[in-house]
């Protein structure tokens, strides 16, 4: 506190306020603006802000200026990718069929395509050609995934998958970064009416 008063006496209150502005407020504020270049669902937004807090005050300014380039190239590219894939609905699981044989499921809070989940689903034998999977989202919306699914991509931070004991379906739950598991999206499977 004495050191602070010394500084005020030496440089004046305006200089001190300027320093607080430059080294305290500006980096965080600027970074929070910069990360808006990433799509809302991109975990990089939170990641970059969190990384800022582990750095020394002097490093922050330079690091934040570096992030302009990072966000400009990576963020806009991701934004384009998300836009191209499309997002359906703001709640629960979002589904969009890209073509006859590809389906992408995107959760609104994450943009990373979690291919390991697909591998798990494929290994479990739940996804087979000739079936239709009906997905019921927490908001009650239902959507059918076309058969012959080659790849299903589920985007989330770390989705947990649990197969139902009766083998009739499975549940996906999505813990958030605090580890809280949100109500699972129940995915029912039924046979395709058109037997392929």
């Amino acid at each position: 506190m004495i050191a602070l008063l010394d500084l005020v006496a030496k440089f004046g209150i305006s200089s001190l306020l300027m320093m607080l502005l430059i080294f305290g407020f500006a980096p965080v504020f600027s970074l929070r603006l910069i990360v808006l270049l990433y799509p809302a669902s991109d975990p990089r937004r939170e990641e970059l802000v969190a990384e800022l807090y582990v750095q020394g005050r002097l490093e922050r300014l330079l690091w934040v200026s570096e992030q302009i380039a990072t966000a400009l190239f990576e963020g806009t590219k991701e934004r384009y990718r998300v836009r191209k894939i499309g997002r359906v609905g703001g709640l629960g699981v979002t589904i969009r069929g890209l073509s006859d044989d590809k389906v992408i499921i995107i959760r609104s809070t994450g943009s990373r395509l979690e291919r390991s989940v697909i591998a798990k689903l494929e290994k479990s034998g739940e996804f087979k050609a000739g079936r239709v999977v009906t997905i019921t989202s927490t908001n009650g919306a239902q959507d059918d995934i076309p058969e012959n699914i080659l790849r299903t991509m589920i985007s989330s931070r770390s989705p947990q998958i649990r197969l139902n004991g009766d083998g009739k379906g499975f549940e996906l739950s999505f813990p958030d970064r605090r580890g809280v598991v949100h109500p699972p999206r129940v995915i029912h499977r039924r046979r395709c009416d058109r037997d392929l």
């Binding site: 582990v54 990072t70 990373r112 931070r157």
Partner: protein, 102 residues
Amino acid sequence: MRKTHALVQVAIAIMASPRDKQWGYDLAKRTGVRSGVLYPILRRMLDDEWITDGWEAEADTGGKRPPRRYYELTNKGMAELGAVLRAAANDARFRNLNVRPA
């Protein structure tokens, strides 16, 4: 993934402690790779399942800062990055990096 100086540097850093959690900023500091290059590399590694990600527990932050995102090497990633390092060790372009194959 294209073998660049940055990728090899990241591979060296990650393979130095393959079982540990890796943090973006920490990796950037250790490797000297700019974050504008590092983060896209990490994203590609995630997409290719070389690494997985997670979030620091709230308790570990002491409530003073937001939880950070970490990355962990997968078995596939270990094999792939090992291959990157082996290839880099025999590549004249990366001689200055002093690559030691894993």
